[in-house]
């Protein structure tokens, strides 16, 4: 390191669009930011680094397994394994009388089982079928089965099965089986890339993954690894000098915080789902595919820590029992639909129920923008300034009790502007609007936005009495965030076959499903939610100049707390609730929205907004009546209107004449005439 610069050499790597050779370059820093990249003193503006491996999917069952074929396993690993575990593997009949005699002697002298003396075949049997109890009966069973196994299968088949079955450690609730997965888990690299010291470490784990855990017992782990290396050199499977060199090497395991192999179970689950959906089964059955994803490790980390810390803080502040809240979050790049991060549980590193993908929860008010959009697509009937009636109503529903929506504040607000009804998330006025527009129209709109599940046309759907997963909500809001273009969520950038040929690509594809005019109006309304509505608290929580659009969602008895919002090129959806569906006492704004803000604050937000479309104009209206306002009015709001749909009547507060001379209508006519 000199002059705040470091020399880096990027390893050669085959990307989806071709190979990149080894690339030495220099990074110069200014403070904590990268100031310049150079190669041979020439400035370069882009370097693609080798992507990090964070998971694997078995081609057969799509489980999280990394199966290896015998011919893909480094020779050194086989040598090391046989050296320390079963020297006579290729000659014995499934049990090894010599090894057994040794063990038997030790056990008899001790009066109990203290030594294994098991062959690989026996160990495999143990791993496959039997319990871990240490009795003579079990030992006998094990031997019989090992003998049978040897009769039925070739040595190499048994060895291959062993290599894929052996237990090598524990990641949370998940057992690490097989050297392929073990390699990913401990080193973040595929098995074929490991060097001798790393191979020796993996082999040393066979004897006791927790006893020789390199994270918890680095010293012991090192001793054991060196023992493996010594034995290899003693038996001549590796030369003394190579073994000595290997012993000098550090343990080399990836630091525990970035144990990337299994770090993102929720994201990996989504990748798996998309593979199944979008690729041909037979293409996936070949081994050694490389799947490039759109995951952004920084965004993922930010999302994980925001979820974890904020839930703890909420529980503490609200005196909720610790550890009862659960959450899910999805972060998407607004214009490409690329999923940057996904969290399916508060303890995001533990595989288990993936709430982002699989938790179907009532969405509450998150549905409302769809109702308003359906209305705003009829500009001659509805504008942001249309007066809605926020008053009691009763709707009959076939097969269920009458529907009588009420507001959260238990009041009715009389005549309110459409934009205010959206911003304040009033239920009664929204329900009336939805009934006027038609439940079927709203459902059709949801289809356009990207929801494909079947929906029953009950009126209560208008206020969100439907269950969606956070990923589905993200798909729907993504269409808003991308300016009315439906863009499929995608987690896979490309898949390379073993021959490094791209299988099929997920190209960027967009589909305009909302005209720019109505989209601009809705977007303005969703910004109003943050400016003056239910998400006001957000103001000032994000950097200046970043315009935020969003919507809170709260369900009956405060069971679900939602927030879906977009700003600066990212759309983020957060759900907070309990798995047992008990009330959490949180509204969208007091739960999910706080997590949302914590996530967004940590992202590198872009500026750059959609400009107002050419057929949209801004007009000042009176907040009370929705009619044209002027300087005499006190409560004025400037709203976008699709040209030709702005109110023409003047508000009572406005003076009937402009400039004291010409009346409004005449003035308008003159304006049009002279195109002023």
């Amino acid at each position: 390191m000199a002059n705040n610069a470091i020399q880096v050499t990027a390893r050669p790597f085959i990307f989806w669009d071709g190979a990149r050779p080894e690339l030495p370059f220099e990074v110069q820093f200014h403070g904590d930011r990268v100031a310049r990249l150079t190669r041979d003193s020439e400035p370069i503006d882009l370097v693609r680094l080798e992507p990090r491996l964070f998971g694997s999917v078995s081609p057969i069952d799509h489980e999280d397994r990394t199966l290896v074929r015998l011919d893909q396993v480094p020779r050194e690993l086989i040598h090391a394994l046989l050296t320390v575990e079963d020297r006579d593997f290729y000659s014995h009949i499934g049990i090894d009388p010599r090894g057994l005699a040794r063990a038997l002697w030790a056990n008899l002298s001790a009066g109990r089982v203290v030594q294994g003396g098991s062959t690989l075949t026996q160990q495999l049997v143990k791993n496959f079928y039997l319990t871990a109890e240490r009795t003579f009966t079990r030992k006998l069973n094990e031997m019989v089965m090992a003998l049978l196994l040897e009769i039925h299968y070739e040595k190499n088949e048994i060895l291959e099965a062993y290599l894929n079955e052996v237990y090598l450690g524990q990641a949370g609730s998940r057992a690490i089986h097989g050297f392929g997965l073990g390699s990913l888990f401990y080193f973040g690299r595929p098995l074929r890339e490991l060097k001798l010291p790393e191979i020796a470490l993996l082999v040393s784990l066979v004897r006791g993954p927790s006893l020789y855990n390199p994270y918890r017992h680095p010293e012991r782990s090192r001793e054991r690894r060196d023992l493996v290396l010594n034995k290899m050199s003693e038996l001549g499977v590796t030369d003394r000098q190579t073994a000595q060199q290997a012993k000098m090497a550090p343990l080399g395991v990836s630091s525990e915080g970035v144990q990337s192999a299994l770090a993102y179970p929720a994201y990996l689950g989504f990748v798996r789902q998309q593979l199944r959906q979008d690729y041909r089964e037979q293409d996936l059955r070949t081994e050694g595919l490389r799947i490039f994803t759109t995951l952004d490790p920084d965004v993922q980390r930010a999302t994980e820590s925001a979820v974890r810390q904020r839930l703890t803080a909420i529980e503490r502040a609200r005196k909720l029992p610790q550890g009862t809240l659960e959450a899910a979050a999805v972060v998407v790049r607004s214009d490409s639909g690329e999923v940057a991060a996904m969290v399916g549980a508060r303890k995001s590193r533990f595989a288990g129920f993936n709430r982002a993908l699989d938790a179907q929860r009532p969405v509450g008010s998150l549905i409302k923008p769809v109702v308003y959009l359906a209305a705003l697509q009829q500009p001659q009937r509805y504008t942001l300034a249309t007066l809605l009636e926020d008053a009691p109503l009763r709707v009959k529903q076939a097969g269920s009790p009458d529907w009588t929506p009420k507001n959260y504040d238990k009041q009715f607000h009389g005549q309110v502007l459409l934009i205010r009804s959206l911003a304040q998330s009033y239920n009664a006025s929204t329900a009336r609007l939805g009934m006027a527009v038609g439940v079927d129209t709203v459902i059709a709109e949801m289809r356009q936005l990207g929801i494909s599940r079947r929906l029953q046309p009950f009126p209560s759907l208008l206020l969100g009495a439907i269950e969606l997963t956070p990923v589905e909500v993200a798909q729907m809001y993504l269409t808003f965030a991308s300016g009315g273009f439906r863009t499929p969520l995608r987690s896979i950038r490309s898949v390379l076959s073993q021959g490094q040929q791209p299988l099929a690509r997920y190209p960027l594809s967009v589909e305009q499903v909302i005209e720019p005019g109505p989209m601009a109006l809705l977007n303005y309304g969703l910004q109003e939610v943050v400016r003056s509505g239910t998400a006001q608290v957000l103001r000032g929580r994000l950097p200046e100049g970043v315009r935020v659009s969003g919507k809170t969602g709260t369900t009956d008895d405060y069971r679900d707390s939602w927030f879906a919002g977009y700003a600066g090129g990212y759309l983020t959806v957060v759900w907070v609730g309990r798995d047992d569906n008990e009330s959490v006492g949180l509204s969208g704004a007091s739960g999910a929205m706080l997590v949302w803000a914590d996530i967004m604050r940590r992202l590198d937000l872009h500026t750059g907004e959609f400009p107002l479309p050419v057929d949209v104009e801004l007009v000042a209206v009176d907040l009370g009546t929705g009619r044209l306002a002027d300087k005499h009015c006190e409560d004025v709001i400037e709203l976008p209107f699709i040209v030709g749909s702005a109110p023409t009547e003047r508000a009572p507060c406005a003076s009937p004449q402009i400039n004291g001379k010409v009346g409004g209508k005449v003035r308008n006519w003159l304006d049009r005439l002279f195109r002023r």
């Binding site: 669009d17 503006d45 882009l46 790049r333 607004s334 214009d335 490409s336 690329e338 300016g483 009315g484 273009f485 690509r505 190209p507 960027l508 594809s509 967009v510 589909e511 305009q512 720019p516 090129g569 872009h606 750059g608 907004e609 959609f610 400009p611 479309p613 050419v614």
Partner: protein, 161 residues
């Protein structure tokens, strides 16, 4: 979209110093001009200036790479470079326009028209909008829909000049 001075690029374009690399850009412009002629008979149409495309050298370089690939008939490479650029500047209307051009070449007409529409949603630059409508017209034509192609061309003419 950030507008900065891109005189450097445009000068190179005008003086032809980009060499054969700028082939497809030029070809595209010629097609655009001819298309304009066909409908309204205006002799020339001011060409959109890709020079104003970005403030970031890395984005400009990726655009140049894409242009080169397009010239060499490597359409998917051209698209990849633009997608890479879009990751850096997702709200850059020029990049969406360029990607639409690539899709026309790939005969993926529906996507071409959609991408051009996205470019339009992101820009109020009338010349870019006109160029997008011409692309949409090309796409409809390619897809065998001359009526919609005509409508799109009329929209372009309304914006041009």
């Amino acid at each position: 979209m950030t507008r900065l001075d891109f005189s450097r690029f445009s000068k190179r374009l005008r003086t032809g110093r980009l060499g054969p690399n700028c082939g497809p850009v030029v070809t595209g412009l010629i097609i655009a001009a001819l298309a304009g002629c066909a409908t309204v008979g205006t002799p020339t149409r001011p060409a959109p200036q890709p020079a104003a495309a970005s403030a970031k050298p890395v984005v400009l370089n990726l655009m140049r790479d894409s242009t080169q690939s397009l010239a060499a008939g490597q359409y998917s490479q051209a698209a990849l470079a633009l997608e890479q650029a879009l990751r850096i500047e997702p709200r850059n209307a020029w990049l969406w326009h360029e990607l639409a051009k690539v899709r026309v070449q790939q005969q993926r007409y529906h996507q071409a028209a959609q991408l051009a529409a996205k470019s339009n949603a992101l820009s109020r630059d009338r010349r870019l909008q006109a160029a997008n409508w011409l692309l949409i017209a090309d796409a409809h034509e390619g897809a065998g829909d001359p009526a919609r192609a005509r409508t799109a061309r009329e929209r372009a003419d309304l914006l041009g000049n």
